[in-house]
Assembly symmetry: C2
Homo-oligomer: 110 residues x 2
């Protein structure tokens, strides 16, 4: 499991389009621009608690989307396979069988 | 653009987990099991119009999810790249440069 901030950044990246504009604003200020809850509350003229509740709910939504769609998990698996493939292609005489095996695994991920 | 039934089958495949259980039932009976609206209505003891409205709404939702997440589009692009890569790997001496180019395109899709 990734460290929480990193994980939330990734999940936000994959699923931000499913969030409301307000959820997008709070999340991107908090996680991408590193604003504090108090600063976001001031910016939007709402209570710190309201910002906190909204962000907590959004985090839970992002985890639910990931449970259902697995976009981050599949991305990580694809990234690993692509890295392996690049490593093979940097060898003098890469094995075609090894490359085909990776291509087949990539295919199965979809 | 794929033929509508094929496209709906794909979209359902990618996004069914975001639908309600009732939406899932109607869509899978209609698109996967080829039930008529009347047969679904009878099965669930509701009006044919209610089934029709539910399916139309669900189709629109699936298209909205695709507009936001592009899972089908990216799947099609990945499928094309993977097919090209397999073709290259079936050649006697596949060009490593050509293979690396495809790997880089695959990477950019994520």
């Amino acid at each position: 499991m990734l460290e929480k901030t990193t994980r939330m950044n990734y999940l936000y990246d994959f699923y931000f389009s499913l969030l409301t504009p307000k959820q997008q604003s709070y999340m991107s200020l908090y996680y991408l621009d590193d604003y504090s809850l108090g600063e976001i509350a001031e910016e939007y003229d709402v209570s710190r608690q309201a910002v906190y509740d909204n962000i907590k709910r959004t985090e839970a939504m992002l985890e639910e989307y990931e449970e259902k769609l697995l976009l981050l998990q599949k991305f990580q698996e694809r990234t690993r396979l692509i890295r392996d493939m690049k490593q093979l292609l940097n060898e003098e005489n890469p094995s075609k069988e090894a490359l085909l095996k990776i291509v087949t695994e990539l295919e199965k991920l979809d």
